[in-house]
């Protein structure tokens, strides 16, 4: 990812000013997000997601066995499996394979995990060209930017903006016709796909029973990136495995449904090893890199384990009102949106991403749309607790001692009604000088200033409900 030195607040504020961005995201939220919500209106579909959630949780319980089974089957077919403890381990392994084959050109399938481990810069330092072949990723790469959505990487752009980019970078005649733009991209990508030495992809889901990984796509680029080059390296997060083919089928279809309101994607590719004498499909060499990079740590904390059920469909981004207004880049993390607000702090540091833990409204739309009903608001609250208290396990220091002290006072006051009432009265008096002629306040200072940045504040009632109640005749109380 391309990190900005600006804060979440600053990036969000700038994004909010961008009317075009808002329309672009609105498009996917209305088209896909609303479609996914509609899908859950059916009782049978809701039962389906409950079933998949239970299955995901069971898989997490037996992750060690499932991964060992998967690895064994792939190795038996002559494939290589590498378990990478850290991002650096994963990148070093991929670099080693690339060097061994003197790789000059890599074609990539869309993979957020490949971005997570920071693979691009390392390969490029080796003078290896790394080319994204997913159309959205290709556009983002051309723009020198990062994906703003985990499924639809260039959802922050519309076709006019893409036309400008293609005109500038590819020198093509300006056209806003999607067909013309796609044809141009295809011309570039086809040539590169045919001449690449290595394909690198992610993994949407792996099946232990069959010993295969699976990738879904709508463009056919995955099939070419995994079969044309001599070597195929697949990078998968270690949680993306299910036990049986039945579980696999249930989960994969739910993934395409939640991600794109598709019964199944146009292409579904299975890979379980290199080509064989009796089966000419596939690359000469196959590598699966299973990435931990902090996932075991998440697995070890009951508060957050649930997030590993995530199947990266991106539905929560299509439902989140905050994402809808600030876009993916404002999160300044590899994974944006509601899922990113939980997983990015856990993978990249809770203190570093403190704003992602606190910068949501907890409205719950993400939980409602999630195909595995991940309780993201609950986990955001757990992250806030971690920030409030500090945590050795998470190597997290207390976020703010002043704030902690303030909330301590709050707790004390709410347990002492006399004091509470006195403070209310003082508050009422203290607010008066700030109020305008109609009693409303247009500008507050200090920690409360945020309220009046875009809103006015109505005056407190002259007498509180409690005071008015006491003045009611006894018989009415």
């Amino acid at each position: 990812m391309i990190a900005s030195d600006k804060s979440y607040r600053e990036l969000a504020a700038a994004a909010i000013q961008d009317e075009q961005l808002r329309d672009n995201i609105n498009f996917i939220q209305q088209r896909i997000g609303k479609g996914t919500f509609a899908f859950w209106e059916d009782e049978g579909n809701r039962q389906w997601r409950t079933r998949v959630k239970e299955q995901r949780e069971r898989s997490l319980e037996h992750l060690d066995i499932l991964l060992a089974t998967l690895a064994e089957k792939i190795r038996n077919r002559g494939g290589n499996v590498y378990f990478a403890k850290t991002a650096d381990d994963a990148v070093a392994y991929i670099g080693k394979v690339a060097r061994e084959h003197d790789v000059k050109r890599v074609v990539k399938g869309k993979s957020m995990t490949s971005h997570e481990i920071g693979m691009h810069p390392v390969l490029e330092d080796m003078d290896t060209e790394v080319l994204e072949t997913d159309l959205g990723e290709y556009i983002v790469q051309l723009a020198g930017s990062a994906p703003s959505h985990i499924i639809a990487p260039c959802t922050h752009m519309n076709k006019e903006q893409i036309a400008d980019l293609f005109h500038e970078k590819l020198g093509m005649e300006k056209s806003v016709e999607p067909e013309v733009l796609v044809r141009e991209a295809r011309n570039v990508l086809r040539k590169k796909l045919l001449s690449a030495d290595m394909g690198i992809t992610g993994c949407n889901l792996a099946c232990a029973e069959t010993g295969q990984i699976c990738l879904v796509s709508n463009e056919g680029n995955i099939r070419m990136a995994t079969t044309l080059p001599k070597v195929h390296v697949a990078v998968m997060g270690m949680e993306r495995v299910v036990p049986t083919l039945q579980d696999f089928s249930d989960t994969l279809q739910l993934l395409t449904m939640a991600a794109a309101v598709q019964d199944i994607s146009t292409y579904v590719s299975f890979m379980g090893g290199p080509e064989k004498t009796d089966n000419g499909d596939g690359p000469e060499e196959f590598h699966l890199v299973v990435v931990d990079n902090g996932r075991s740590k998440i697995l070890g904390d009951g508060e957050f384990r649930e997030i590993l059920s995530c199947i990266r469909c991106g539905a929560c981004l299509n439902a989140c009102p905050v994402y809808g207004r600030i876009g993916g880049h404002a999160y300044n993390a590899n994974y944006p949106g509601p899922i990113g607000a939980v997983i990015s702090p856990l993978l990249e540091g809770i203190n570093r991403h403190a704003d992602l833990c606190t910068g949501e409204t907890l409205c719950g739309a993400c939980k409602d749309i999630c195909p595995v009903s991940n309780d993201i608001p609950r986990m955001l609250l757990a992250l806030r607790r971690t920030l409030a208290q500090g945590s050795e396990y998470w190597n997290t220091s207390r976020h703010s001692r002043t704030e902690g002290y303030g909330w301590g006072v709050f707790g004390y006051v709410t347990a002492h009604p006399g004091l509470y009432r006195t403070l209310l009265k003082i508050g009422r008096l203290a607010m008066k000088p700030f109020a305008g002629t109609d009693g409303w306040t247009k500008k507050l200072f200090g920690p409360a200033a945020g309220w009046t940045k875009h809103r006015d504040l109505r005056p407190m009632a002259r007498r509180s409900f409690s005071e008015r109640w006491k003045q009611r005749p006894e018989r009415d109380r």
Binding site: R9, G364, A365, R385, G450, F465, S466
Partner: protein, 249 residues
């Protein structure tokens, strides 16, 4: 959900209603009175502790919760004019005390007897008709904790349908967050401001005179933005609508 008492109810007045909107609490009392339900106000109420809880300060929230237990210990049925505070009691209190068995029992007891106003009327009292009358066009904002948290969506609409003279005009995105989010609104004013601005646009597009909801915190946010934009649309709690007689507030 229907075990509650339909003859008397303890009022759990959200802190914001107490300090800024006492008329909402009084409207609720009037509506209950007209339905023959005796309401009473247990003294010593403060705040349920949700602001501390939502910021991650569980020890502070526990203090508020323990105080709540004391105040409402004797109550059989508790009614609250806020989906959000009801959600706090029903879902977060048990979460707060999940490792303290004795208090957990208490938390569950509180959770089981606390109702949001509209769900109390429809699901406990099973109100079928009201003599409310308000000649006005209104639109409904579905607050997040109420709608997604408690699953209360139809109840406010069913009650509004019983009000003579009232025309309900649904807004687009009625259940999209208004951007309040408690201290979020103060900590992230630009994001919050953008969300409430969208909400206000949707409200204005209906042409309604009033936006009605069951959470004054969201409505205070919306009202604050309406006021900043010099719009004439007013916010009303459902109880204020149901308390209306003779066509006017």
């Amino acid at each position: 959900m229907n075990e509650g008492d339909n003859t008397s109810a303890a009022l759990f007045i959200q802190c914001l209603v107490d300090s800024h909107y006492p008329v909402v609490g009084e409207a609720m009392v009037r509506v209950l009175e007209r339905l023959g339900i005796r309401s009473y106000y247990p003294d010593g109420q403060t705040c349920c502790g949700q602001p501390a809880y939502n910021n991650g300060y569980v020890d502070a929230a526990k203090k508020s919760a323990l105080h709540f237990f004391q105040v409402f210990d004797g109550a059989d049925t508790i009614v609250c004019p806020s989906g959000s505070c009801t959600y706090m009691v029903r879902h977060h209190y048990p979460e707060l005390f999940k490792d303290e068995p004795e208090l957990l029992v208490k938390a569950h007891r509180m959770a089981a007897k606390t109702y949001e106003f509209s769900e109390y009327l429809r699901d406990v009292v099973k109100v079928e008709r009201l003599d409310s009358h308000l000649d006005a066009g209104v639109t409904v904002h579905d607050s997040c904790h109420l709608t997604r948290g408690l699953g209360v969506h139809r109840q406010p609409r069913e009650l509004l349908a019983m009000v003579k003279g009232l025309e309900l005009v649904e807004m687009d995105e009625s259940d999209t967050c208004c951007g309040f989010g408690g201290t979020f609104s103060v900590k992230y004013p630009d994001i919050s401001g953008a969300l409430v601005d969208d909400k206000v646009d949707h409200i204005l597009a209906t042409g309604a005179e009033y936006v009605v909801g069951c959470d004054m915190s969201c409505l205070m946010n919306i009202e604050g933005r309406l006021h900043r934009r010099n719009e004439r649309v007013k916010v009303l709690h459902l109880a204020q609508v149901l308390a209306a007689e003779g066509g006017a507030l």
